[in-house]
């Protein structure tokens, strides 16, 4: 099967972006993601359980993330907890999204400075 083009999946929803960002640093379980996202957004975004897992399901079926073993440094050893990490595709999509957003931001700044923006 051919490798999908990361650009096909853009733009990402903010929830997705935040979750993907949370997982890039290290594999996390559900509650870990919630805490990480909360911290990353300065307490602005508090994910709810249902919404989180609905998104996780979507990410799993799109093959952005995958399940992985519990990290060795994890202290809590609850068997029900499952850990997720981004796949190669997920990583690429995330990078593409970040690049896209930074281009947007740069364009926005140029516009604010009165210069002609160049997207892409």
């Amino acid at each position: 099967m051919r490798q999908p083009d990361p650009a096909d999946f853009l733009p990402l929803k903010s929830d997705v972006l935040l979750i993907m960002l949370a997982l890039t640093s290290r594999p996390l379980h559900g509650y870990g993601i919630i805490r990480d996202v909360e911290a990353r957004s300065d307490g602005e975004v508090l994910l709810q359980t249902g919404a989180l897992y609905r998104t996780l399901r979507r990410l799993l079926s799109d093959r952005f993330i995958e399940e992985c073993d519990r990290p060795a440094d994890e202290t809590v050893t609850d068997d029900r907890r499952r850990y997720y990490r981004p796949t190669r595709l997920g990583q690429q999509v995330l990078e593409a999204e970040v690049a896209r957003m930074s281009r947007l931001v740069r364009a926005a700044r140029l516009t604010a400075d009165g210069k002609r923006p160049r997207l892409a």
């Binding site: 379980h29 509650y31 709810q48 609905r54 399901r57 079926s61 609850d78 907890r81």
Partner: protein, 894 residues
């Protein structure tokens, strides 16, 4: 607390989702709750909202894509089946054609399986431990003849087998023609005269009443008891419950019905038997010393070997016992070998011709199935191309390739199951027809489609559906996504085209092979029908009469009546000749394809007759008009005339072969032979007649002697011969009426053309011809459709290219020729491969054919011609379509 609430809320989620994430969610929800960062009301609202959203998502996915659903395979299967039905209904013509192809192929297969099952596998019904039950054969080499094997033995042999230590049991039987009822009610039936041991040996239980007992089959006083078949019970008694104890007229004698045999019971053979009666009743009608005679050889003997006894060891024992018991002085009888073979063997111990043909035909029907598979695959590939867009969209919507494969295979399986269901109808019709016309002598107890046929068809159809579905499905789902995104159906078709062309060539190949087989059989039948038998089989009717019993008359009255009856046929000849449509009539004892009487001939100035390798001379006693009636030519000398009769000077007419063998290069007319043992008076040869076949279609010429009717000694049993102006059957009714009015003691008049007597020997060829012809034509139609559909696809696929060519100035006829060339090329490949296969199989085929080479160039040539014509016809429409491509339109469509 939150955990219980959340657990309850989770029940609202799609089950699949709950199984996957439920435990984690509980854990997360509890942790979130414990951290007190979120209010419970938010958690509940979120849980409810997610449940609704997820349900909607799952529903959408289910509608547009075939998600893998490992947890509910039946549910998924049901969905796929419903979907397959819907998608087939969108292309009813395609579905119908595929189903029809499969129906004909599986139908032919099922019908043949039913026949092969009976003939080759199962054998007669109601036989317990059938592998230990065997028929007894005697192989001997009489002087002047080749070695021959027969299942016809004498009661003496039965006595030997009965006493053998390797036998757990032995039984003897003879199946004869007879009549039931009297006068206009009379019907012909098959009577099985059997020793009482037959039933216990086979292990059959009566459906009602009992079989007869040993004491009812004793020589001292055989009882007139009868066991009727299920069929007769139905036909004659309408399944009356009080049939036991009723009386049944058999050959004009009353019998007490003591039992009803179970449905489908035919003894140790496959032919229909209507009534079973004690063996001694038959023997009482023949001669007094038949039980001790070594020359009475009209019984069949079967043996049940003791458990663990090797058939070869049993044969050795039987042979030893036979040699010890034989008290005659004929060398070949002392040296005869007694042996056994399974119940499926023919009367001469070999494999019956029908079995061999059926074995072949089973192979043929498999070929037909293969052709049908190739054809369906071909059509499925074409359909796949038409659906490329739909499949691509499904793929884009998230259906996995596996899901698409499954969907396509389920479609093809569904199609082949529909085909198989229709095929059972076809099997019913074909099987019924084959049984009634070609294998009518066999009792078919079960319907053409029984449980076994049903099971086999079901399994075949399912396997076939998967088999024909998988290859096209793999092909069309490959790159489905990418292909759908491009516009049009073009592109990436090279591989598929090659695959379809290969399939089409395979179809043509198999059709050619089948048609060649059919052609060879057709020629065989034609040759067999046109063998010069030395008489006209179609125009001569053989009439035999049954009469009222002589019981109840005293001895002198009985002798008078016997004498009157003997002369009756000759006396009634003039009246028969007056029947409209009758060209001539005669009377004879000893007919071709009827009773054969061997006779000893001595020639005064010769020590012994020359050995011919075809047996000693046989004899007939005939009335003067015999040769004219039969259509046998007299080559020399004179015919018999009315003055040649009982008491006049003994004269004879001999066969040409005998004249040539005994008096090579000399004139036999006027010479003297002595007939009989001890030799009779000098019989003067007055004529030479052309050779006639006596018993077989394939037969070396034999020595034969004709003497005038009335001069015969030691043999009898006259039949009336009627030659008609047109076909013999048409005068049967008139002759029958004339005979019954002329003599009130006649109870039944049996009529049969000579051709009908020969027919059983034609049967294996006819069976082969009709089946091969049917399957060959089916294959031809199927491959014509295959070629057509491929060419049509090709033209549609290359529209653009054709348009460009035409725009660049290509001539219309050249474009059309491209298509025709394709068609011819594929069929030439098929013809070449098919001819090679047929030629390779020729060696095996040869023994089944009659006077035609298995590599007959005429048959090969005409089949090749037919296939080329069909290929041309199939390319007609697509080539016209190619020629009519409008360059502008084709280019604009891109």
């Amino acid at each position: 607390m939150i955990e219980a609430l959340y657990r309850a809320l989770l029940l609202l989620y799609p089950a699949e989702f709950r199984r996957r994430f439920g435990a984690e969610m509980l854990d997360t929800a509890r942790a979130l709750d414990a951290s007190r960062r979120s209010r419970r009301s938010r958690a509940v609202i979120d849980a409810l909202h997610t449940a609704v959203a997820l349900r909607a998502e799952y529903r959408r996915e289910r509608r547009f894509a075939f998600t893998e659903n490992r947890h509910m395979p039946w549910d998924a299967l049901r969905r796929d089946v419903i979907f397959a039905i819907r998608s087939l209904r969108r292309e009813p013509a395609f579905a119908l054609f595929v189903a029809a192809t499969l129906a004909l192929a599986t139908g032919a297969n099922a019908a043949l399986f039913g026949i092969a099952d009976r003939l080759l596998v199962r054998g007669p019904d109601h036989v317990r431990d059938a592998e230990r039950v065997r028929r007894v054969y005697v192989t001997a080499q009489p002087p002047g003849m080749g070695q021959f094997t027969t299942a016809g033995v004498g009661h003496v042999t039965y006595d030997i087998v009965r006493r053998a230590s390797s036998a757990e049991a032995a039984a003897t039987y003879a199946i004869n023609d007879g009549t039931t009822g009297r006068g206009a009610e009379a019907r012909e039936i098959k009577i099985g005269y059997a020793s009482a041991s037959l039933f216990s040996l086979l292990g059959v239980q009566p459906a009602q009443g009992r079989f007869f007992a040993d004491e009812e089959d004793s020589t001292t006083g055989a009882h007139r008891v009868a066991v009727i078949s299920d069929g007769l019970w139905q036909r004659q008694f309408g399944r009356a419950t009080d049939v036991l104890g009723r009386s049944l007229i058999i050959n004009d004698d009353p019998y007490d019905i003591v039992g009803v045999a179970p449905s489908g019971f035919t003894g140790a053979e496959l032919g229909r038997v209507d009534v079973w009666a004690p063996m001694n009743l038959l023997s009482a009608r023949i001669t007094n010393d038949w039980m001790r005679s070594w020359s009475a050889q009209w019984l069949s003997v079967i043996i049940r070997l003791r458990q663990g006894v090797d058939p070869d060891a049993a044969s050795d024992e039987l042979t030893t016992l036979f040699t010890r018991a034989y008290d005659g002085d004929e060398k070949h009888m002392r040296e005869a070998r007694v042996w056994t073979a399974g119940l499926g063997a023919a009367d001469d111990g070999s494999e019956p011709a029908e079995s061999r043909v059926v074995r072949w035909l089973s192979g043929v029907s498999l070929l037909v199935l293969l052709i049908a598979c190739a054809n369906v695959m071909n059509l499925l590939l074409a359909r796949g191309a038409r659906r490329a867009r739909e499949l691509g969209i499904r793929r884009a919507l998230g259906a996995s390739r596996l899901a698409l494969l499954r969907m396509l295979v389920i479609e093809s399986t569904l199609l082949s199951l529909i085909g198989a269901a229709l095929g059972l109808l076809v099997a019913h019709v074909i099987g019924g027809a084959a049984r009634n016309t070609l294998l009518s002598s066999i009792e078919w107890s079960s319907a053409p489609v029984d449980a076994r046929v049903l099971l086999v068809s079901l399994v075949t159809a399912t396997a076939m559906g998967v088999f024909v579905g998988v290859v096209p499905a793999i092909d069309v789902t490959r790159d489905a996504l990418a292909r759908a995104l491009r516009s049009g159906v073009r592109g990436g078709s090279g591989r598929r085209l090659r695959l379809r062309a290969a399939l089409t060539v395979v179809q043509s190949t198999l059709s050619v092979a089948l048609l060649i087989g059919a052609g060879l059989f057709v020629r065989s039948v034609w040759n067999a029908r046109h063998v010069d038998l030395g008489f006209d089989p179609d125009r001569v009717l053989v009439v035999e009469v049954s009469r009222a019993s002589l019981a109840g008359l005293d001895t002198s009255a009985r002798d008078t009546e016997r004498a009157r009856r003997r002369l009756f046929l000759a006396g009634v000849l003039d009246r028969v000749r007056g029947v409209p449509g009758v060209e001539g009539a005669s009377v004879a004892v000893g007919l071709p394809f009827g009773n054969r009487f061997s006779v000893r001939i001595t020639v005064p100035d010769l020590d012994a007759l020359p050995q011919t390798g075809t047996g000693g001379p046989s004899i007939s006693a005939v009335e003067p008009a015999y040769f004219r009636t039969m259509g046998t030519r007299l080559l020399r000398g004179r015919d018999f005339n009315p003055t040649d009769r009982a008491g006049s000077a003994p004269v004879a007419i001999i066969s040409e072969f005998m004249a040539r063998t005994v008096w090579p290069g000399r004139d036999p007319i006027g010479r003297c032979v002595r007939i009989g043992d001890p030799p009779g008076p000098c019989t003067t040869i007055v004529g030479v007649a052309e050779n006639t076949h006596r018993a077989r279609l394939v037969e070396a010429p034999k020595m034969h002697v004709y003497i005038p009717l009335g001069q015969e000694v030691g043999f009898g049993g006259a039949a009336l011969l009627v030659r008609s102006t047109r076909d013999a059957e048409s005068v049967a009714e008139g002759v029958r009426r004339e005979l019954t009015t002329a003599d009130a003691t006649i109870t039944f008049v049996a009529t049969e053309t000579l051709a009908e007597r020969i027919d059983p020997q034609m049967r294996s060829w006819e069976l082969g011809t009709s089946t091969l012809l049917f399957s060959g034509l089916l294959a031809l139609v199927v491959s014509a459709v295959g070629i057509y559909s491929l060419l049509a696809y090709l033209v549609a696929d290359r529209r653009h290219e054709i348009g460009v060519r035409l725009a660049l100035g290509a001539r219309v006829d050249h474009v059309a020729m491209i298509v025709v060339r394709w068609s011819i090329g594929m069929s030439l490949a098929g013809i070449a491969a098919g001819c090679l296969i047929a030629a390779a199989l020729g060696t095996f085929m040869q023994p089944l054919l009659f006077q035609v080479s298995a590599r007959d160039p005429m048959v090969f040539g005409s089949v090749a011609g037919v296939l080329l014509l069909v290929a041309l016809a199939a390319s007609l429409l697509p080539s016209l379509r190619a020629a009519r491509v409008d360059p502008l339109e084709a280019l604009r469509a891109e």
